[in-house]
Amino acid sequence: MSDNLIILIPFFPLLAAILIAILGPKLLKENSHYVTVLAFAASFVCSLMLFFSVQGQVVEEGTSFESVTTLWTWAAVDNAMIDADGHSVPFLIDVTLRSDALTSIMLCMVTFIATLVAIFGAGYMHGDRGYWRFFAYVSLFVFSMTMLVSVSNFLLLFVFWEAVGLCSYLLIGFWYHKPEASAAGKKAFLVNRVGDFGFALAIFLIWINYGTLNFHDYVVDGQVIIPGVFGQMRLGGALPYVQGGMATAICLLLMLGACGKSAQFPLHVWLPDAMEGPTPVSALIHAATMVTAGVYMVTRCTPLFHASPDAQVTVACIGGFTALLAGLIALTQHDLKRVLAYSTVSQLGYMFLALGTGSLAGIVAGMFHLFTHAFFKALLFLGSGSVMHAMGNVIDMRRFGGLRHLMPWTFRTFLVGCLALAGIFPFAGFWSKDAILASVHDRAYPGAHSHDSQDSEHDADHDADQDADDHATHSVALLSADHAGSNQADSYTNIYVWLYRSACFTAFLTAFYTFRAFFLTFYGPQVIPDESGHHAHESPPMMWIPLAILAIFAFLIGFVSELDHKFAHLLTSTPSLAFAGMHDTMQPGGFHMDIAISSSIIAVLGIALAAFLYLGHQREVEAISKLKLVAPLRALSLNKFYLDEIYTWAVVKPLEFLGIIYFWLDRWLVDGLVNLIGKVPVALGSGFRYLQTGLLPFYSLSMVVAMLILLFLGQVLWGGG
C-alpha cells in the first residue's frame, strides 16, 4: 500500500504543474491557484497516510523500516567498472522511490507548508500578470522537492537537487523585468551550481568506492546483487564503509553540496539576495523546504559521516560559525525579510552544528529543529509577506512602524513566531533549540550529563552585556565536575566546548534581533509609507488564516513531538540512522533541565535588551551606534562582512580577467599563428617575383646554369656512365 502512496505524492504537484503550464495562460489565468492548492492538499493527505503507515510499520518491527518501489530504469551500462575485488559492476540507475521514517517526516512537512503557502500565495499574488506562471513554478518546485526527499539513488538525488535549484532560479527571478531579481536568480543558481560541483565530485567518488549509487540493496528474488550504499547489508556490517582520507573527502564534498543548497558559510551569499522573489516563495523555498535539503542529505548520509569523525567536526564548525556569522549580520539589517533570511541561515547553522556532533541525539535534535523551524520560520516569512502586502511592497523597517493596531492578526501571529524562534518555553523553538544545545553540551562535556543534580547553582542571573568570558566562568564550573571516562575522549571536545559557547551566544543574538525586528515593525509610533496607498490594513482572511494555523503549530508542535520522544523514536527507525555504530553514541531523549533553564534565561535576556533598546524612542540606539568602538562593527555587520565584495573580487573578477586574457591569446597567438602560416606562401611567391628581369639573355643564362647544375649533379651523384 505504501509504495503506490509514495508515487502519488510527487505525482499530484507534477500533474498540477503540467496542467497550469498548458491551460494557464489562456484558460485558468485567475483561478489557477485552485489546481495547485488542491494538488498540494491531496499530496499532503497522502503523505499523512504514508506517515501513519510508516509509524505503524516501525512499531511492529522495532528496528528500521524501508520500502522501495522502482518506476523505470534510467540508464544501464553493464560491467562498466571492475571494482576492488574483481567483480564487474554495472552502472545501473533506476528511478526508485523509498519510503521510510525520514522521508515521510520530510514529506509531511513539505506538503503541509506548501499547501498553506499556496493558499497565502493566492491572496498575495492576486492581480499579478504572471499569476498562472507563479503557481506552475511552485507546483514544479514541490514536485521536485517531494521527489528529492523520496528518491533512493545519489544520482537522482543530484537530479532533483538541481531541479529544485532551477525552480528557485525561476521563482527568485519571477519578476524578471526587475534586473535585481534576475541577477539574484542567476546568483542563486550559480552558487548552488558551485555546491553541486562538490556534490557531483562526491557522487563520482562514491561510485568508485562503493560500486553503486543506490541507497537500497538491489535485491533480485531474495539475493542481494548490488549492495546499496545505505543498504541493509552494508549497515549490518557485512560490508565495510570506506575509512580514512577518502571517507573524509567524500563527506566534505557532500558538505560542500549541502552548504550550496542550505546556504552555509562559504556559499550562503545567495539566500539574502533570494528575497527579491515573491514572499510566499521565500517562505516556502528559502525558509522551510529547499534550504533543508542540505540537512536532509547530511542526515541521510550519516553512515558516511560516521565513518570519518573529522568530517563531522568540520560540519559542526561550519554550522556553528555560520550561525554566529548570520546572527551578527542580522543584528543591523533594516530590511525585515533580510533579517529573517539571515535568521534562517543562522538556524540552519544550528542544525548542521547538531548533525556535526555525530551522536544520535545530535542528529535527532537537528532534524527536530528542522521540523519545528520550518513552521515558525514559514510563519514569520508569511507574516512579513502580509506586512509587505499591506505596506505596498515596502519592507524597509525604517519606513513603517507601530502596526500592531493596524494589523492585529499579523501582529499576534508574528509575536508567536518570534517567541518560537527565540526559544521561549512553551513554543516549538524552545524544545528543538534546547535539544540541540543539550546534544552539543553532551558532546562537549561527555560525562557531565550523569551529574544532573549538581548543575542547579549555576543559574545565577548574569548580564548579557558582559562579553563571552562570562560564559567561560559558567563552563569552568561545569569542567570542575569530573568527567567519567567518555567513550570518545578524543581531541575534538575542546572544539565542541567552543562551539557550545558560540551556540549559546548565537541563541542570545537570535532572541535579540528577532525582537528588534518585531518591535521596529509593530511598536513605536504608527508610520505608513505612502506607497501603501489605500490598502494599508489587515490582509484578507485568505492570507491570515494560514498565519493562524502556522502559529498554532509553532506553539504546539514542539511540545507534542517532545511528549514521550515520539519524534525521536520514529526518526531513529530510518535505516541510515539505525546501524550499529550509532547505538553507542549519545542516545536522544535525555531532557537537560539545566540547559533548558540557561537557554531560556539567555533568550529572555536577549528580548529584554531588544526591548530596552528599541521600545519607545530609540535615543539609546543612536548613542550606541555612534560609539567609537561599535561604529566600525556596525558597518561591518550592515555590509554583510563585505563577503559579496570579497567573492566578486576573489573569484568573479579573476575568472573574467582570465577569460579576457584567453580571448586575447586566442585572437592573437593561436589565430595569429594560423594566419602567419597563411602568409608564408605569399611571402615566398613575392620573393621569386624579382627573378623576372625582362632581359632575354638573363633568362637563357639561367636556363643554361640550371642545365649545368643538373649535369654536374648527374656527374657527381651517379658517377656518369
Binding site: M81, G86, H87, L155, A200
Partner: protein, 540 residues
C-alpha cells in the same frame, strides 16, 4: 525495398534533390523552399525508417556495397554503406537537424534561394554519407564533400566578412583532412603488407580493416605516427584546443542554417572519426596519446568556457560553448571505458540538439533585430515570451541540467573519467587533476549561459536602436513555422533526458567492441563475466 537500399536512397535523395533544385526547378523562392522542405522531409522519412528497424547488436546493419573498382585490380574498394550502433544516432541527428535548418532559413534567405537550398541538400547528403560510409575511400569522399557546400553557404550568404571566414574554414579543415588522408592510405597499405596470406587484397572496407587490426595490430611506432596523422584531420574538425580558431569565425559569419548544421553535425564527424578509426584500429597509439588528448580536452573545456564568458557576440559565445562541450566529448572518448565512450557518443547527439537549437534561436533573433551584439538587447522576455521559453529550454539543456539531455551525457562522461583517473591501474596523479577540472567546466558552463540569458532576456526591455524606425513589420513572437522547427528538438531534449537507456542500449554493443582493450586488460575478465552473466538474467 529492403533497409539497405533505403539507406542508400536516404543518401542519394538529397543529392538528386539538390541537383533538381539547383538546375531545374524554376519559380520564386516560395516554391523552391517548399520543394526543398518536401525533399528533406522524404529523406527524414527514410532515415527514421532505417533507424527504427535497427536491431540491437554489435554487427553492421543495412549493409549494401556496390563494386566501384573491379576485383581484377586487386583493390577491394566499394561503395559500401551500413550503420552500426555508433553511427546510427548521428545519422538520425543529421536527418533531423536538416529539417530545422530548412525551416529556420525560410524567410532569412532572399538572394539566390535555389542555390542556397541545393547547397543545403548537398550538405545533408554529405553528412548522411559520412556516417553511413563503411568504406574508407567513400568515408573520405563524403568527409571532404561536406566542406564544399558549407564553404559556399558561409561564403555567399554569410554576414560581413564571410569570405575570410569561409576561406579560413575551408583551408584549415582541408589541410587537416589531407594529413588524415595520408594516414588512412598508409593504414590500408600497412595492413595489406602485414597480412602474409596468399590471397591478400588491398581492402578499404572499414569492418575488414578493424578486424584485421584487432587480430594483428601494427607495430607501435607506426601506430603513433598514424594516430598523429589521423589526429590532425579529426582534431581540427572537433575543434580541439589549439586548432579551434576557425570555429567561432565560421559560426559568426555563417547563415543560420549553416551554423545549425555546422554545429549540429559537422563537429561530430571529428569525434566520430576518432571513435571509428583511431581508437579501435590503433590501440597502442591510443594508449600513448591518451594523456595528451585528455589534457587538451580539459584545456578546451576550461578555455572555451572562460573565453565564452567575455564574448560580446551571441553566436561567438555559443561557438566557444561548443568548443567547451566537445572538449567533454573528447574527454569521454579518451576515458577509454564503457561509461566514458557511451557518454561521449550520447553527448555528441545532445550537443547537436542543444547547440543546433541555440543557433536556430539566435538566427530567429537575428532575423528580427539584425544584430548579434549582446549589449544591444535586454529584457526581451516581455516582448518575445515564447522565444524566451525555448531559449531557456535549450540553455538549460546545454548546461546539463538534470532531466534534460545534456545531463545524461555529461554525468556518464565525468563518471567514466573519474573511474579512469581514480580507480584501477593507471590512476595517475595528473589524470586526477584533469577529472576535477572537467567537473568545474560544468559550473563555468552554467555561468556564461545564464549570464547570456539574463543579459539578453531578463531585466528592463531594451531593443536594438534601429528597429523602431522601420515599424513596417513590428517584431512579433515565434511564428508557427519557427516553433515547428524547434519542437522536434525539444522532444529529443526531454526524451534523452528522461529515458537515455533507449539510446544507450542501441549504442552499447558496438561501442564495447570498439574499446575491447580498455576492459580486457583489467584483471581477470572471465571471473567478472561469470558474475555479470548471473546478473544479465536479472537485468532484462
Amino acid at each position: 525495398m529492403d533497409v539497405s537500399s533505403l539507406l542508400l536512397l536516404s543518401i542519394a535523395l538529397p543529392l538528386l534533390g539538390a541537383i533538381f533544385i539547383g538546375l531545374v526547378a524554376p519559380g520564386d523562392r516560395g516554391s523552391i523552399r517548399t520543394v526543398a522542405f518536401v525533399i528533406s522531409l522524404m529523406t527524414f522519412g527514410c532515415v527514421v525508417a532505417v533507424v527504427s528497424q535497427f536491431p540491437t547488436g554489435s554487427e553492421m546493419f543495412a549493409t549494401k556495397s556496390i563494386t566501384w573498382l573491379p576485383a581484377s585490380t586487386g583493390i577491394e574498394c566499394q561503395i559500401s554503406v551500413g550503420l552500426d550502433g555508433l553511427s546510427l544516432w548521428l545519422y538520425g541527428l543529421s536527418g533531423l537537424l536538416m529539417l530545422t535548418a530548412i525551416l529556420v532559413s525560410w524567410t532569412a534567405i532572399s538572394e539566390r534561394p535555389a542555390l542556397f537550398y541545393s547547397m543545403l541538400l548537398l550538405l545533408e547528403s554529405g553528412c548522411l554519407g559520412v556516417f553511413a560510409a563503411q568504406d574508407l575511400m567513400l568515408f573520405y569522399v563524403f568527409f571532404e564533400f561536406t566542406l564544399i557546400p558549407l564553404f559556399f553557404l558561409i561564403g555567399i550568404w554569410g554576414s560581413e566578412d564571410r569570405r575570410y571566414a569561409a576561406i579560413k574554414f575551408f583551408l584549415f579543415t582541408l589541410a587537416g583532412s589531407l594529413l588524415t588522408f595520408v594516414g588512412l592510405i598508409t593504414l590500408v597499405v600497412s595492413v595489406y603488407n602485414m597480412s602474409d596470406s596468399a590471397d591478400r587484397i588491398l581492402t578499404f572496407s572499414i569492418p575488414k580493416l578493424t578486424d584485421a587490426l584487432a587480430l594483428r595490430p601494427l607495430d607501435a611506432k607506426l601506430q603513433i605516427w598514424l594516430f598523429a596523422a589521423l589526429f590532425a584531420g579529426f582534431a581540427i574538425k572537433v575543434p580541439l584546443f589549439p586548432l579551434h580558431t576557425w570555429l567561432p569565425l565560421a559560426h559568426v559569419q555563417a547563415p543560420t542554417a549553416g551554423s545549425v548544421i555546422l554545429a549540429g553535425v559537422l563537429l561530430k564527424i571529428g569525434t566520430y572519426g576518432f571513435l571509428r578509426f583511431s581508437i579501435p584500429m590503433l590501440p597502442a597509439a591510443t594508449e600513448f596519446w591518451t594523456p595528451w588528448l585528455l589534457w587538451l580536452s580539459v584545456i578546451g573545456i576550461i578555455y572555451g568556457a572562460l573565453v565564452a564568458l567575455v564574448q560580446s557576440d551571441i553566436k561567438k559565445l555559443i561557438a566557444y560553448s561548443s568548443v567547451s562541450h566537445l572538449g567533454f566529448c573528447m574527454l569521454g572518448l579518451f576515458a577509454l571505458n564503457r561509461l566514458g565512450v557511451q557518454g561521449a557518443t550520447l553527448q555528441m547527439i545532445n550537443h547537436g540538439i542543444s547547440t543546433g537549437g541555440l543557433f536556430a534561436l539566435v538566427g530567429m533573433l537575428y532575423e528580427r533585430y539584425h544584430t548579434r551584439q549582446i549589449s544591444s538587447y535586454s529584457g526581451l522576455a516581455k516582448k518575445l515570451p515564447v522565444l524566451t521559453f525555448f531559449m531557456l529550454i535549450f540553455t538549460f539543456s546545454s548546461i546539463g541540467l538534470p532531466g534534460m539531455n545534456g545531463f545524461a551525457g555529461e554525468i556518464m562522461i565525468l563518471t567514466g573519467m573519474f573511474q579512469k583517473a581514480w580507480h584501477g591501474a593507471e590512476a595517475v596523479g595528473g589524470l586526477k587533476i584533469v577529472s576535477v577540472l572537467a567537473v568545474s567546466g560544468v559550473v563555468l558552463g552554467a555561468w556564461y549561459m545564464l549570464w547570456l540569458v539574463q543579459r539578453v532576456f531578463f531585466g528592463p526591455l531594451v531593443e536594438p536602436h534601429d528597429t523602431h524606425d522601420h515599424g513596417s513589420h513590428a517584431v512579433h513572437d515565434l511564428s508557427f513555422r519557427e516553433i515547428a522547427a524547434l519542437v522536434p528538438l525539444c522532444i529529443f531534449v526531454f526524451w534523452i533526458g528522461l529515458y537515455p537507456k533507449f539510446f544507450l542500449d542501441r549504442m552499447a554493443p558496438t561501442l564495447d567492441k570498439s574499446i575491447p582493450s580498455a576492459v580486457a586488460n583489467s584483471s581477470d575478465l572471465n571471473e567478472s563475466v561469470a558474475f555479470a552473466a548471473s546478473k544479465d538474467r536479472s537485468l532484462d
